[in-house]
Symmetry: C2
Subunit: 277 residues, 2 copies
Amino acid sequence: MAKTLFCTSLLYRSTMEHKRAVAEFCGNVELCNHTARVVFSDPYRVSQYNHWTSPYLDRDVEAVTEDNCLKIEIAELKSQFCERGQALIHGDLHTGSVMVTLDSTQVIDPEFVFYGPMGFDIGAFLGNLILAYFAQDGHANQRNDRKSYKEWILRTLEETWTLFHKKFTALWDQHKGGSGEAYIPEIYNNPEIQQLAQQKFMKDLFHDTLRYGAAKMIRIGGLWVWPMLRILNQLRMPENEQLREQRALEFAKMLLKERRKFQAMAEVVSAIPNLHL
Amino acid sequence: MAKTLFCTSLLYRSTMEHKRAVAEFCGNVELCNHTARVVFSDPYRVSQYNHWTSPYLDRDVEAVTEDNCLKIEIAELKSQFCERGQALIHGDLHTGSVMVTLDSTQVIDPEFVFYGPMGFDIGAFLGNLILAYFAQDGHANQRNDRKSYKEWILRTLEETWTLFHKKFTALWDQHKGGSGEAYIPEIYNNPEIQQLAQQKFMKDLFHDTLRYGAAKMIRIGGLWVWPMLRILNQLRMPENEQLREQRALEFAKMLLKERRKFQAMAEVVSAIPNLHL
């Protein structure tokens, strides 16, 4: 993620190379359009096709559709997703797209790839981890309370951002005399301004990551995929399942609206409620 | 400006139409690259090719190259200029590109056209008006003190934004049941959220306009074009000419860094110093 996002951005490329690369990928119209609709619009409108949340989450859906602040935030994300060609992103980087063995990591399903905002990829992955955390109690039983697995998820959440941050800024430091034209060395020519630029960029990227992650959580955990899977699998609706969907939704809403109060991923991890549902 | 920017944005177009339109114009690589360089980079580096500011503005150039806050702002503008395909913009909309008679207005030089941030066009035009204001005292003489012309410029500055705001939001209101997908009517479905969305959008656009306008003023008035014209025309360097270049530069730097303190164009107009130089 650090390599792909860094090396396809203006931090590594000239404005000319970047523009040419954006042009090469801007034909991916249909799938971008699909994502824009299912992530940033469908969860916020009452649709006759969405049977999945009803009747269990009727009041939660209503609360979302009446939350002006949330819907303004989502509109800004949608426009940014469609307008901002910051770097080459995977476009559907949920945890199910990442295949791992002990010595190999492969990412599948590149059909959504286009030039978009970096935070959409990082957020998709981290948002999925948070959802996985919320889901664990549903898999717990007397033999395994999933406590250590839940701890592993939270650790992975924090470490993923920390490692991304470390690798991304290391690439930046390594290539700062190179051809990247966002901060050309003749102008950003002293350690103080280089540090300021990097801190500002990484802080903005962190908050972008949180809000895109939250948007993906709302779609998947609260208002679409989870409830749909529950019904498709003809699961009874245990009360706790409903509560988990509600709590995931509430946490995501908070993260989207109040992201600026978080300065580090450890603070986000601390804010995730331990439900024991 | 209101029509072109509105009708080529996601406020009027579906995400699909918008993406296709961006694709159509993204081949304009060389001229975008030229603008990115001359507006957002050249004025901030000490270049052997820039004889124009030396020695009269040596200290001012030095102050700019040492202003970390200013340079961070400019870097963000440069990246946004290269990354954000918000609407179809003219790309070089200085006042010299606008041809007017009593009953016709024509805009020339469309070769820079591409999908970029709306504020770049509006800012270019308004920034030029502010520079024209600063320049007037240089043309004043005993027969004409240019007072009424200066007042006309300030009035035009305010009226241009006011009229743009009025026409743009009128188009928005007129088409809010249409195919635009930034704020689809099913979701943004009550007068309160529609008003909130519009206010937020217009406020962001206003501040974007101020910062792009300031960036163009720095390039044209302070650090490149004006000083160059002065020398190319083999003008003596009257002390006042130098002062005008300095004051234009100082005002632009303030506007770029402190734009958020302005809520309306009338406040910007009030902040423009009356120099009598």
